[in-house]
Structure formats: structure tokens, C-alpha cells
Amino acid sequence: MALKDSIAWYHFAAPKNFYPLAGKMIPWFWGLTIVLLLVGLYLSFFVAPTDYKQGESYRIIFIHVPAAWMSMLIYLVMATYAIIGLAWKVRLADMMASALAPTGAMFTFLALWTGAFWGKPTWGTYWVWDARLTSELILLFLYIGFISLQSAIDDPRRAAKASSLLAIVGVINLPIIYFSVQWWNTLHQGASVSPTMAPKMATIMLTAMLIMTVAFWMYTIAIVLMRVRRIILERERQTTWVMELLGDETVGEKDGRK
């Protein structure tokens, strides 16, 4: 059983085999994303009640917290792929890391943006330099650094190695973001949901937030799979399987025109 599993991993770690698999998976993840987003948004706006303290403005939590969680989760996954890519020379892992970065950067930006637009009506300010906000901003810089370094190096192999190294160095920032609200007193609230304590949210609010989180997660998987397919084509363009794949497609196109 274990052997069989490892063979499957080995099989799909080859870009050639992963490319069609990803293609088959993408529609499913899009389907999940859309269903969950619809349910999550319905719960967020029509079912979840008004908060006793913040009134309606708390509804930003349904995108703010999922975006912030995804920003950290994506970095963690990206760094894991970076380690796999560096240590075991798995090309697909390098490609996954670079496919994850733009989406991670986007969610980091969204977490900051929605946070600012939530902070203004509740705290009375868009921005404050407390530990949580500053460390999340640093995360955005790390993502941008990763993307820039990768695009600045011409040789894809070297680019993957250098940016993977950078991603690994930047992991140190993750615990700082996560624990900042415990370690220092910040303007940012403490965690409403944590693995060690009972959630400090009404069940329906929590449900809406978790569904939105899963929706963002599915979105991430779908978009990253799409992006990694492009990256696979680009980096494997000299191989025969890509040539055949695209050669067939162009033939099909010509036939269609006739």
C-alpha cells in the first residue's frame, strides 16, 4: 500500500504526468470555489446577525480573516515546496512554489487592504504600526522579493534555487505574525479562533467565516493549478511531450478552420 502510494507520488511528480492531472482537477476546484463562495457570501450577509459591538462593519471579517490565513498558509506551503525543490531536486516543487507566490502576495495585500478598511470604522484609523500589521506588511515584501528575484535571474534552474532559498529564510516571519498579538499588546485584536481555545465567536458567524476560508482555499488551489500548467509548458518547452501536445492542438485548430 505504502509502496503503491509512493509510486503514485513519484509518477505525478513528473511535470509530464502532472500537467493532464491538474487539467482534470481544475474544473472541480472551480466548482467547489463557486458553490462555497455563494454559500459563504449568503451566510455572511443574510444569515449572520449584526454584531453586538461593531454593528455591520464586522462583516469585513468574512474576507479579512480568510485572506490573512491564506497569506500565511500559502507562504508556508511555498516554503515547503522550496525545501523539497532544493533538497530533492523535484522540478515540479520549484514550479509549484513560483505558482503560489503571486496568489500569496495577492491575499497578503487583500488582508492588509480589508484590514485598513475595517480599522477605519472600528479603531478610527486605517493604519497603525503595531506588531501584527507591520509583520504582515513584511510578508508582502517577502512575496514581492521572491517574485522579483525569480524574474531577475535568466536561468530558470538558478532562479528557482535562489528564490527558494529566500523563501526559506523568510519563514522566520510566520511565527512572528501569528503570535504577535500574544507577545505584544497591539491595537489589533487577539485571535478569535485558535487551536487551543474555544472560539470566541457566535457559531453562525464562525461557520460563515470558515466557509469563506475554505472557498478562498479552493480558489487558491484552482488558480495555482492553472498557473502551474502555464509554468510547466514554459519550462518544459524543449521536451517532446510539450511539442507533441501543442503540435496536435495546432493541427486541430487548422482542421477546425477548414
Partner: protein, 158 residues
């Protein structure tokens, strides 16, 4: 030195360094590295003198007074041990309320904190209005029972 010995030496140095780093970090976490300062620390002299700093705590219930100009407000900030009066001229954030968390930036002047900016700090609890109302009712009942002399009721921590 053999490679193995060298590797051992590196690992030992690494572990020792990690220990030192951990000790330093723990040491730092115990002391002041905060966005704001509590009233107790301010009264103990742990706040900057003649300089702006951030004061944080809860707004004391029924301490809010508005002047006639409608802009200047007086209220008291507490950390449940000590209390400092605050004066602020300007628009308060929507979430500002008695009994709520607040972070004010300003200076001490003769025992009064003159704030130039007031930010509201909210906690991590979210619940529907009705539930909150019910909880409040329950708390009132509790307090009445307490006043009635019931010894079994555990006082709620704020």
C-alpha cells in the same frame, strides 16, 4: 579535525546559540515592547516624561463627559488597578464607548493625559446583539443575587 568532529562542534555551537537567542527573546518579552502603556505603568513612572506616548486601557463606566463645544471630551482610562483622566478634542471613533478598550496618543500634563488621537480597541468576541443583551441581563441578575447575599456566585472577571 575529522569531519565528524567538526560537524559535532558546529551542532554544539548552533545549539548553544539557539539557547542564548531563546533566553534573550524571553527576556525581551517580559519587558516593555508594546504599542501602548497601561495606567499603572504610567503612574509608576514607566512612561516617557514630556513626550508623546500611547496610553491603553478600558474607558471607565460613566466617566465620559462632553463639553459644550461638542468636540472636547473628558473620560477616564483604567487597567482595573489604576485610573488616569484623559482629555481629548476631536472626533471619537464609532466604537468608542464606556467600558470599551481604547488607545490614546498624547502627553501627560499635570496628572491629566492630553490626547491628540484616540483609537478604539475591540476584543476578539463576536456575537449577535440579542445574545449580548441576554448575557447582560444574566449578569444583572447575578449581581442582584450577589447583593442579596448569595455566596455561591462567582464574580465575573471583566
Amino acid at each position: 579535525m575529522k569531519t565528524r568532529h567538526k560537524r559535532m562542534a558546529f551542532i554544539l555551537v548552533g545549539l548553544a546559540g539557539l539557547g542564548v537567542a531563546a533566553w534573550l527573546v524571553l527576556n525581551a518579552l517580559n519587558s516593555n515592547l508594546a504599542l501602548y502603556i497601561s495606567p499603572t505603568d504610567v503612574l509608576a513612572g514607566d512612561a516617557p516624561k514630556n513626550q508623546t506616548f500611547r496610553l491603553g486601557g478600558l474607558v471607565v463606566e460613566e466617566s465620559l463627559e462632553r463639553e459644550d463645544d461638542g468636540l472636547t471630551v473628558h473620560f477616564k482610562v483604567t487597567d482595573s488597578a489604576n485610573t488616569i483622566p484623559v482629555t481629548f478634542t476631536g472626533i471619537l471613533p464609532d466604537l468608542f464607548e464606556e467600558g470599551q478598550g481604547v488607545v490614546a496618543q498624547g502627553k501627560m500634563q499635570g496628572g491629566v493625559f492630553i490626547a491628540s488621537e484616540v483609537l478604539a480597541k475591540h476584543d476578539e468576541n463576536y456575537m449577535p446583539t440579542q445574545v449580548a443583551d441576554m448575557l447582560e441581563e444574566g449578569e444583572k441578575l447575578n449581581q442582584q443575587e450577589q447583593a442579596g447575599g448569595s455566596a455561591t456566585v462567582v464574580p465575573q472577571t471583566p
